[in-house]
Amino acid sequence: MGGQTVWSGVSLDIAPGAFAAILGPNGAGKTTLLRVLLGELPVTAGSASVHGSSPGALNRQIGYLPQRRQFDAAVRIRGIDLVRLGLDGARWGLPLRRRGAERVDEVLRLVGADDYATRPIGELSGGEQQRVLIAQALVSRPRLLALDEPLDSLDLPNQTAVAALLQRICRQDGVTILLVAHDVNPLLSYLDQVVYFGAGRAVVGAPREVINSETLSRLYGVPIEVLQASDGRLVVVGLPEAPAHHSDRHEHA
């Protein structure tokens, strides 16, 4: 990453078929991990493997949702065409053929997007767009779904609904799900595993094993408190802020 070491000495294992979230402050290396697994970035030391193969070798078996993709109203492409591109978009030829229509319909029903899939993607709400994009990532039957902040632009009911949908996909189809998140709370009751990046390192485990005062204090080497609100939400207090943290998220958080 431009000559910088994002993290080192990190060893982590995500169980196949697990629903795992990658957490941590901005710049801690969450997206970097996804890009390493996609084979877009090399690891300078150590190794990474996806389902036993080197990263990048199996990209057709990884469904990928990059960060913050919002289509504005000027994008006049139907949701269903976008989903079909997930199936055959890398193949040469004209974008006219109808092959794979059943699989596209099936996956649109699975995510609950069949009602609005024939509308232009730019006219859909953020939650509807996210479902179409999840369908696109799923349509080629990947074994791993890698999502970068898929809940970021959604309102709270939609965040919970998408988290529940992802868990259902994980359980029903045995798809491993790796999800980068800024806020763990909408996901908390659905997750199997958590990877928490911080201070150039990472801890892995079940959500409650990782997100507690003791583990996070050990990770950062400074005292950190995890408080639980009466509704079950977790709040982390005392995170050391990285210098020069001026992301847009912090401005309105």
Binding site: L94, S125, V236
Partner: protein, 308 residues
Amino acid sequence: MHSVVAAHLSLDPAFDFDQLTAFPFLVNALEAGTIVAVMAGVVGWFMTLRRESFAGHSLSLMAFPGATGALLVGLPAALGYFAFCGAGALVIGAAAGAGGARGRGEESAVTGAVQALGLACGFLFLSLYRGVLASYESVLFGSYLGITSGQVLALAGVAAGSLAFFAVVGRPLLFASVDGAVAGASGVPTRGLGVAFLLALGLAVAATAQITGVLLVFALLVAPAATAQLVTPRVGVGLALGVALGIVTVWLGVALAYATDYPIGFFITTVATSFYVLARAARALVARPPAWRRRRVAHPPSEGAAAA
């Protein structure tokens, strides 16, 4: 710029068609215009989707040094058009590729520079030429007179190559255009396709400029495609509609220019823009409530301190 015969268009299309095809120069104009409309319709549809109108605009201006440069060294104008627009496309494409992740900003800076340099060269060529360039306005604003059969053949060749290109890369190009990050992750060579598309755009622009003139290229490049995208979000239907609208525009433009003796560029631009305005108006009439009213409240009060 005066037509050789007096023409009177009637309301009888068959009679008008006979009139329009009675003279070889008009047949050449219609053939060239139809070829250009097909190519511009397809390229323009992708250009609108990729939001590369600025690149398209700059490449169209490269036709000016192309035309004047060819004149200066005594080569056919068409060759100058294709050479300069094609070279401009490669320069812009190379800059975009070198820019990497920041490609967009880099690309528009280089595009602007290429455009200014091209215009300046064109003006230099013109003053070096010293002679009187009789068809100065027709280079800038288009003409349907004096299109040779050889020019029609050259246009047909370039158009065939361009359509073959889209037949091969259409699907991955669509993927890369709407969804670059995911297309890249699934193995689409997005950068190479971007450069190849710019080259196709440059050639289409060079062809279009021979009919509409350097300054009015967008009438055929953007308007029909943008109209088609307003009417339908379907890929195949949209491409076909863009091409059809372009052909209708060119035929009406040639007919009106022939009948009235006024410049063709004006009529093509007016017809193409009218289609676009009509499509907009039609959409506004049948519109559902605007998007913001259908959406739920976008952002509930902030979630406060999160677990990250």
